[in-house]
C-alpha cells in the first residue's frame, strides 16, 4: 500500500514566506479565513518559522526553491506514490512541479534533519480519525 502525501509544504509554511516575529504577508493563507488560517496556526510559531529559515541555504545550494525542496523531500520516500500540491496562483504550480524527479543527496537530507531537529513530528500514532463522525 503506497501513500499519497497531503500538504507537503505544511500549508505553505515550508515555502519560507512566514518569518519569525513578523506578521504574515497580506493575501497569504495565514491571513485568510477561507484559505484555512485556522489550520495553519499550529505551525505559526517562532521556533518552527526560525527552523524553516534555516532550510533556505540548503534549498539554495541544492538549486531548488523552498517549495521544491519540501515536495522533493516527500518524494524521496519510495513508498510515496505522489505528493499533493495546491495553489492559489498558477505560478505556484509551475514552481512546485520542479520537484518532480529530483534526487536529494544523503548529505542534504541530513542537513534538513539537523535544521528541523526535534520540531518534526515522527510518531505515526499521531495519525488519527475523529472519535465521532461530526468531530
Amino acid at each position: 500500500m503506497s501513500q499519497i502525501v497531503w500538504s507537503p509544504m505544511a500549508q505553505g509554511v515550508l515555502s519560507g514566506k512566514y518569518l519569525p516575529g513578523q506578521p504574515a504577508p497580506e493575501g497569504s493563507r495565514a491571513t485568510d479565513e477561507k484559505g484555512g488560517a485556522k489550520m495553519i496556526q499550529r505551525w505559526m510559531r517562532d521556533d518552527v518559522l526560525a527552523a524553516v529559515q534555516e532550510l533556505k541555504p540548503i534549498a539554495q545550494e541544492a538549486g531548488l526553491s523552498m517549495p521544491q525542496l519540501a515536495v522533493a523531500w516527500v518524494l524521496q520516500n519510495p513508498n510515496v506514490a505522489s505528493a499533493i500540491v495546491g495553489a492559489s496562483r498558477p505560478e505556484q504550480i509551475a514552481d512546485s512541479v520542479g520537484a518532480a524527479g529530483v534526487k536529494l543527496e544523503a548529505e542534504v537530507l541530513k542537513r534538513i534533519d539537523d535544521a528541523v531537529g526535534g520540531l518534526a513530528e515522527r510518531d505515526p500514532a499521531q495519525t488519527k480519525s475523529p472519535a465521532t463522525r461530526e468531530a
Binding site: 495553489a87 518532480a100 480519525s129
Partner: protein, 163 residues
C-alpha cells in the same frame, strides 16, 4: 513529470498531484482556480485530488468544470467520502452503505465524469462496521463508478489487509 505506480497496482499517477483543498470554491475565485488547473495540466500533472467535503461540495464542482474538456483517459481523478456534506443530515456523513452509495453519485455528477480513478474513505468511521464500508466500496468498483479504493488518515491497524 515522472509517474509512479499506486501501491502494488498497475495504475500510474503523476508523482505530483494537484489538490484543491481550501482553494477551489473557497480561497480562490473560480477563474483563478481554472488557471491553476490549466497550469497543472501544462506542467504534466495528470492526477487531481479533491473531496466531497471540500467547500461543502463546491470544490468538486469547480474541478469538474475545469477538467470537463480534457481527455478522461489521460487523467486520474481522486475524491473522498466521510465528512458531512449538503444539509449535513443524519445520513449525509460517515461510511455507511447508504451514504457511500449516495455520495459517489453526487461526486460523479459534480465532477462531470462517469467514474473516479480512486475513491477514498476520508477518515475511519467508528460508527460503521468495516465490512459494511468495504462491501459498499466493492460494489462501487463492480459498478465501474470507482476503479481503485483508498483510505485517508487511517492508522496502519485500521487499514484492511488481505489475510
Amino acid at each position: 513529470m515522472e509517474f509512479r505506480y499506486l501501491g502494488n497496482s498497475g495504475f500510474k499517477v503523476s508523482e505530483i498531484t494537484f489538490g484543491n483543498w481550501l482553494t477551489h470554491g473557497s480561497q480562490v475565485e473560480n477563474d483563478v482556480a481554472t488557471q491553476c488547473v490549466r497550469a497543472a495540466l501544462d506542467a504534466g500533472i495528470s492526477t487531481f485530488d479533491t473531496a466531497d467535503v471540500y467547500a461543502n461540495t463546491a470544490a468538486e464542482t469547480v474541478l469538474g468544470q475545469a477538467l470537463k474538456d480534457e481527455r478522461r483517459e489521460s487523467l486520474e481523478i481522486f475524491t473522498k467520502v466521510f465528512g458531512p456534506t449538503g444539509p449535513k443530515g443524519k445520513n449525509d456523513l460517515g461510511l455507511s452503505r447508504k451514504h457511500i452509495m449516495e455520495s459517489i453519485n453526487g461526486s460523479l455528477r459534480r465532477l462531470q465524469t462517469d467514474y473516479v480513478d480512486l475513491y477514498q474513505a476520508h477518515r475511519y468511521d467508528f460508527e460503521t462496521p468495516l465490512e459494511e464500508t468495504m462491501q459498499a466500496f466493492a460494489d462501487i468498483v463492480r459498478q465501474g463508478k470507482a476503479l481503485y479504493i483508498g483510505v485517508s488518515e487511517w492508522t496502519a491497524d485500521q487499514a484492511p489487509r488481505r489475510t
